[in-house]
């Protein structure tokens, strides 16, 4: 039962990942792609947590921690670039 629920969760997360990826591939502008990038990294945090559950290793969560705290830096870097007037 619980395994089935986790399976459903993984499938849903996968679909969310695909939708965000679709937005990244479609664009149309840089800002849209950055939003999609943000979404992808957050879904990836969920992916890492699920991987930790499957592998039953608590140490994988450290990676999720670093990932959660630093992936937003990438977004801020791009945002700071985009806001400079040409």
């Amino acid at each position: 039962m619980v395994d089935a629920l986790i399976l459903v969760a993984a499938v849903l997360a996968g679909l969310a990942f695909l939708l965000a990826l679709l937005r990244f591939l479609l664009g149309p502008g840089p800002a849209d792609r950055v939003v999609a990038f943000d979404g992808l990294t957050i879904v990836s945090v969920t992916g890492i947590v699920l991987a930790a559950l499957f592998a039953d290793r608590v140490i994988y969560l450290d990676v999720a921690l670093v990932y959660a705290l630093l992936s937003f830096l990438g977004v801020i870097v791009v945002a700071r670039y985009l806001e400079r007037r040409p």
Binding site: A55, D56, R57, V58, I59
Partner: protein, 120 residues
């Protein structure tokens, strides 16, 4: 298709895509971008080769005791190699970008076709 072959195939694909970009693009910055992609691909291949299916990370804790380590962990050596390779990769990227910046400061162009001094 197992996870290991999948990872190795992805790594090779990234290497090829990266090399294609690095060899066909004229803009130096784009060549560096393509280079970093190829770099990631090589790392992926190495980790994929070190992975043994069904095993877990080479870190011992409550989940993996010392006694059962040899039967349950993946090969740690490629991981150690790739770890340093990634860090050096950043150093190499920074160096390439610094040179690109200098080239642009002196020649006001990033097109590889304008740099012909060392061409033969």
């Amino acid at each position: 298709m197992t996870l290991v072959t999948l990872a190795i195939a992805t790594g090779f694909a990234l290497v090829l895509i990266g090399l294609l970009g690095a060899l066909t693009d004229r803009n130096i910055l784009r060549m560096i971008v393509a280079f970093t992609i190829a770099n990631t691909g090589v790392n992926l291949v190495l980790i994929g080769v070190g992975m043994l299916p069904g095993r877990t990370a080479p870190i011992l804790d409550e989940a993996v005791s010392v006694a059962q380590a040899a039967a349950r962990i993946v090969d740690p050596v490629p991981q150690a190699l790739v770890l340093t390779a990634i860090v050096i990769g950043l150093g190499v990227t920074a160096l390439m970008l610094a040179y690109a910046l200098r080239l642009h400061q002196t020649r006001h162009s990033l097109d590889i076709r304008t740099f012909t001094e060392l061409k033969w």
